[in-house]
């Protein structure tokens, strides 16, 4: 092993927390013992194994953001009906695509056949910046001067499963760590009482739990699902009939016997790690119910999020919980609008306009409420809010026909050009980055790949996406794989 590769191994794989670990990985056997001892003295590897994998860690450089709230519109919201106006599309309604775009591959639609479909939405300029937003988001539009609208996002997958994986893990394949897992792996947890990475679903995702999984990172970095019915977390309530006193006694006994057992086994850090895990578990039991108890929130705050209105209650509650999580030190929070159930997410294959009116009505007020509440509490400064979905949607009509013939007035999946926006976390708002072509099909100006988005998110949190690596199957992996060159941080802050 060359000195250089050894250096890389040590610096880019914090996983080698112990001498034994290092030796096992280095594969050098006994020949490496002396070197390992030397490095230990130099402080290059830890003398004792790291006890808590969630201990707070320093970022690579000063961070702008400490927390992330990722608002995920499951199914894929249409950029051309929301944040990316295309007046020309209105004029070309019903015509064929230009020759140059007819061979673009889509999931359900033959681009050589399906005609262009104008947006039925009205766009208007908002705020000082004058950024145009459609009438689907009248409330979010009030905060346009706090948003950086990235209109040139793109990736490679026109199918939900792969797109969900890409948006969340940077890879179209299953099994890679999600953004939140990388961030918690890089920064550790700020909270002593709650998980560092929490997810709020609406019935699951089309790519399943891997989109908030830890992939090949240790399982401790995976997202914890906050359940919307019953107890907020699995196993959070003591057994039926057991009083808090009884449980405290039981745990005190566990600790007593564990400490007896620990005597003479101090070199095994797993044992003391397990004892501290019980202490955190007990604190979580107390703090989780407090987190989800919204009764102490002012009526005015509840109204801001639309919690007392039928249509916005579900997503508004999630948004308010997200703010409470930020206040309690949760690092990464992901909220889904829509989920597994076809027709109950943003997947507007038929009557896209009606679908989006229904879906946007559920989230517009809650999202605006969240931005306002974070802002007035001084939390937006340190909290990065991200809005996006699987992909955007096509400017041509969806190619699937209704029974009896005729197009259904929907839009197919479009990963070639779509919009995401970010706010807070040190971002100066009122900005538009990049552009799609004149009909909104492809990102043409300043394209921002999903790897670039991920590099930007890590960058705002003080992490260098090229340095945050994990050795797996013989090579150092990173969230951005070999991409992420168009890191937007310097242009956003």
């Amino acid at each position: 092993m060359s000195t250089e590769s050894l250096w890389r191994l040590l610096h880019h794989s914090p996983h080698y927390s112990s001498r034994r670990d290092f030796l096992a990985h280095a594969g050098g056997g006994f020949g490496m013992v002396a070197l390992s001892a030397m490095l230990q003295q130099e402080g290059l590897i830890a003398a004792a194994p790291e006890v808590n994998p969630l201990a707070p860690k320093r970022p690579h450089f000063p961070a702008k953001a400490k927390h992330v709230i990722y608002l995920f519109m499951h199914g894929g919201p249409s950029h051309i009906d929301t944040f990316d106006p295309k007046p020309l599309l209105g004029k070309l309604n019903g015509q064929q695509l230009p020759e140059s775009l007819r061979n673009v591959r889509l999931q359900f639609t033959n681009a050589a056949e399906a005609p262009l479909l104008a947006s039925q939405r009205k766009f208007a300029r908002h705020g000082q910046s004058g950024i145009e937003v459609s009438d689907l988001f009248p409330n979010v539009a009030r905060f346009v001067d706090d948003l950086a609208v990235i209109r040139s996002c793109h990736h490679e997958a026109f199918v939900h499963g792969m797109a969900l994986n890409l948006m969340n893990t940077g890879s179209p394949r299953m099994g890679f760590p999600s953004v939140g897992s990388w961030i918690v792996y890089g920064l550790g947890s700020e909270s002593q009482n709650l998980p560092a990475y929490m997810v709020m679903l609406e019935g699951g995702t089309k790519a399943g739990p891997p989109v908030y999984g830890s992939g090949f990172l240790p399982a401790t970095y995976q997202g914890t699902v906050l359940r919307d019915k019953g107890e907020p977390f699995l196993n959070i309530r003591p057994p039926a009939g057991m009083s808090p006193d009884e449980q405290r006694d039981l745990l005190a006994n566990v600790k007593w016997f564990d400490e007896q057992h620990l005597a003479g086994r101090q070199d095994d850090s797993n044992l003391s790690a397990r004892i501290s895990a019980y202490e955190l578990a007990f604190r979580m039991q107390i703090n989780a119910p407090e987190l989800v108890d919204l009764s102490k929130e002012a009526g005015e705050t509840r109204a801001l999020y639309g919690i007392d209105e039928e249509g916005t209650r579900a997503f508004g509650t999630k948004c308010l919980l997200a703010r409470r999580m930020v206040e309690r030190g949760v690092r990464f929070i992901q909220l889904y609008s829509g989920g597994l159930l076809n027709g109950d997410d943003w997947d507007g294959h038929a009557e896209c306009d009606k679908n989006h009116q229904r879906m946007a009505a559920r989230v517009d007020k809650p999202i605006a409420g969240l931005l306002e509440d974070l802002k007035r509490r001084g939390l937006l400064e340190s909290t990065l809010v991200i809005w996006g979905g699987d992909f955007g949607r096509t400017p041509i009509t969806d190619g699937q026909l209704r029974d009896g013939g005729g197009y259904r007035g929907g839009r197919d999946h479009n990963p070639y050009g779509f919009t995401m926006w970010m706010s807070g976390g040190g971002i100066k708002g009122g900005k538009v980055i990049g552009a799609t072509d004149e009909i909104g099909f492809k990102a043409v100006q300043d394209p921002v790949h999903i790897n670039d988005i991920h590099a930007t998110i890590l960058g705002l949190l003080g992490l260098d996406h090229k340095k945050l690596t994990y050795l797996f199957q013989g090579r150092n992996f990173r969230l951005t794989d070999v991409g992420g060159e168009n890191n937007l941080v310097s242009r956003l802050v």
């Binding site: 299953m174 009884e246 797993n270």
Partner: protein, 131 residues
Amino acid sequence: MLDLRESLRRSVYMYAKRTFRLPMLETFDAPDSTLSCARRDVTNVAPQALALMNNEFVIARAREFADRLRKLGGDNPEAWVDKGWEIALGRAPSAAERAKALAMLDRPGTTPALANFCLMLFNLNEFVYVD
């Protein structure tokens, strides 16, 4: 109605959906089944403690373990402790451990003391880690 004779069996092999990890196994670091796994991670985190403290499956096993000890030891709490130690930990308790355990069994409470004692055994480091 759940037929216990049907469900309480050891699984030699079983139906598994690739993207769905069994919650209990996932809590204890079962690898992601969408990838090959050369080396398993081992973590010691709070959700594992919560699962062993509160999970219904674990509680039910503790109750059944308590029934078994009662069958083996009759009305003799000392026999419960010794048998419990032997079955769960593969050794006899020390005098100090036996005294502590007996004090636990002597405590009145809303849940049966013997079942709590068994639950306590499942939560010990010594039960989870083999020397």
